[in-house]
Symmetry: C2
Subunit: 245 residues, 2 copies
DNA sequence: CGATGCGTTGAAGAGTATCAATACTCGTGG
DNA sequence: CCACGAGTATTGATACTCTTCAACGCATCG
């Protein structure tokens, strides 16, 4: 397995990619590079840093007693992480692809900056708020009834988050195992659901990890039975389970 | 159904209960009172306020096309909510019990205060971070395999969050329907799991909504997956899904 | 080229959702 | 005070989806 680990560089300064929100933080950041599968931090390690992905992708996950794994989130360039802990980390975060680069911010210093710069504080706050929203949205996916709905919602989420061009196929950075642990189902079921969608002509595979949504409307119908991300969607049907007359 | 709605009061000032973190915010807050089942805000409504529960309890939820519901979070006194939206709310939040009181903070003003007071900004930030952690932890519960594990984890969470005294029984503010929509399962299955735990002597009911954990250790084992009754389940399987050699 | 990890497919069993019926709780009104 | 009714909770039987176990195809790599 290629490059062994964690070469740390520093002196990284300005932006280079989209929306560098915390420019006054960058002066204190260092940069680190990781091989596929290697941890950025481990569960239980002291939470002394904040991180931001510069390139590549990561998975944030928890491990169970009998070795099972649950993936809490997939992270892409631009995403902050590591702030979800008071003293020690409650999850591990690992690189998905080789060459994943991460900006590392010393937490104490970063918080000092936030305290003295309302702009920075506001960006961090908004970032945290949107994290809450994103995780809550994930809850809705996990709560979906069927495997097909879960996988369908997952595809929309991934296409939104990991597409490089505006149209065309998207390459998923994660394995079927990762998808399974993200959606809390068996890898075989993930595979079957994808095959199902492919046979229906809803999606098309360039190769195993690279796919394209051919029939967006059908895929939306597959996911239906639940809520659309944005949009009014008024018509309240509270007949059952309302708790209100 | 009793008191119709939303009597608004104001002039509420200082703390009264644990850890009033945002004292300089309280001067701008008003107070509102809600009957059971009534919404604090609806999905799609403008996100112009932040809220904090003073007494009672709430559910934050989303509704699907066919009337199904998913509960994203239960909220207790002290919890902030309503910040998880940019422009309009993506979820509804409704009172669980009659007489639920909520402090309401105008968002713009609150953000101005946060911009000028690093202390406040920091508290809000930490609150948001811990929200992220809490929701992520919920993901792990939802990802649990069996109904028994889900309900067991749920009980621990509720006992932690909704106990009034240090020991003794806990009264759950939510119905079985609420629990079902929170755990993404059928109410009948929730009922069966609770009955199962009761018959095993793991929990004891004072009445339908009020229960006590009698055998904490067994309940922990239930949540650790596969143990209790019939035993052929302990196959180790951590060899797969490593992602690293 | 065989090795290793990943991905797909098949068959059997387990667990949950669903449908249906019954019991319980509490507020209302006779 | 008790009866009633609506909402809530439990229990049972059946269908169905998903997990599990197993085997095989397919890539990459030493």
């Amino acid at each position: 397995m290629a490059t062994p680990a964690i070469a740390t560089a520093q002196g990284w300064s300005a932006s280079s990619d989209s929306a560098s929100p915390l420019s006054s933080l960058e002066s204190m950041s260092t940069m680190a590079r990781f091989a596929a599968g290697h941890p950025i931090y481990l569960i239980g390690s002291p939470a002394d840093f904040w991180y931001r992905i510069l390139s590549g992708a990561c998975r944030m996950c928890a491990y169970g007693f009998d070795g099972n794994r649950q993936i809490v989130d997939f992270l892409r360039p631009g995403d902050f992480f590591g702030y979800d802990a008071q003293i020690v980390h409650s999850f591990s975060t690992e690189a998905l692809v080789s060459g994943t680069t991460v900006a590392v911010y010393p937490r104490r210093s970063a918080e000092r900056v936030a305290d003295s710069d309302p702009q920075v504080a506001r960006r961090i706050r908004e970032m945290a708020f949107s994290s809450v929203f994103r995780v809550q949205s994930r809850l809705l996916i996990l709560g979906r009834a069927t495997a097909l709905e879960k996988v369908g919602s997952f595809l929309f989420e991934m296409v939104d988050r990991f597409r490089t061009r505006l149209v065309g196929p998207v390459t998923l950075p994660m394995s079927r195992y990762d998808i399974a642990d993200y959606l809390a189902m068996a890898t075989e079921t993930v595979s079957r659901a994808l095959t199902n969608l492919r046979e229906q002509g809803v999606i098309r595979f360039e190769n195993v990890r690279c796919l394209q949504i051919r029939d967006r409307e059908s895929l939306e119908n597959v996911c239906r039975g639940s809520m659309s991300e944005s949009g009014p969607m008024s018509t309240m049907k509270l007949y059952r389970r309302s708790g209100i007359a």
